[in-house]
Symmetry: C2
Amino acid sequence: MLSKTAEYALRAVIYIAQKGTEDSKLGIREIAEGIDSPPSFTAKILQSLTRNNKVVSSVRGPNGGFYLSDKARKLPVRAVLEAVNEEGLFSACLLGLKECSEARPCPMHQQFAPIRKQLKQVFDNTTIQQLVNEGNKGRFFLSH
Amino acid sequence: MLSKTAEYALRAVIYIAQKGTEDSKLGIREIAEGIDSPPSFTAKILQSLTRNNKVVSSVRGPNGGFYLSDKARKLPVRAVLEAVNEEGLFSACLLGLKECSEARPCPMHQQFAPIRKQLKQVFDNTTIQQLVNEGNKGRFFLSH
DNA sequence: CTAATTAAGGATATTCATATCTTTTATTTC
DNA sequence: GAAATAAAAGATATGAATATCCTTAATTAG
């Protein structure tokens, strides 16, 4: 469904938003451990999230690390997928056909259209903060 | 969303059902050309569809090739994904978490559950023949 | 200013999906 | 039975996603 990159990105952002603040930032090791992901690879992904888009904030040096601004917490979850170029999910043809469109629909288009629409809605209308609240209910990620 | 393997599998099955019959089977080259896919790779995928599952029928030798039995045409589209081991789509956690379940939902679980359910319904309740009928409306694949 | 810390960046390695090629087997036609 | 045809099967190659490592730059504390 999603690439590993997108999965780690989402998990990392939720984790950082959940456990980090501007005063108490999270290091890459803690994040990777918390979301059970490879540290170096996760670091690369976080670079995309701090650069391209402005989802995650970071500071180098002692007491440095990653955190999410209040503004970032209000971003739609979709912003995370944007940052890692995973937006094909919302537009690509299910059968992988270039020509597929509303005007020239592939055999699965009509059936799939409403699903894609819902998918879009979820990622557009859910904020990162909302996911954090969800996550806190289930206390999903490792704390330590 | 889907792997290339799954995309080619779906396209191939629809194409074969659309243009082939037991009396007039389709060769791998025609299929690959028709659905715009690499011939050898498509051949491998069709092997999965003739073996593991019994979606596609095949005959070797002169006038041999691939076709779909009437029975196969009534199979749910899901059977194609089964044959190529792409069923994770219906069960895997969106965030890639092993522990995720109704009892212990990840932060996106509640939002994603109805989408996954719909996805499942589409693949379960749509038959291959229905897709062929859809496809015939739009005459999507190359004919020659 | 120096040393320590931590993310950023660049280069490289590994793995798996994707893709190709060759040989074998089954089937048909003559 | 021999030759031709076409899929099955096996071996191998390629490429992109995944993953690691090493160096650089920024920041802080002393």
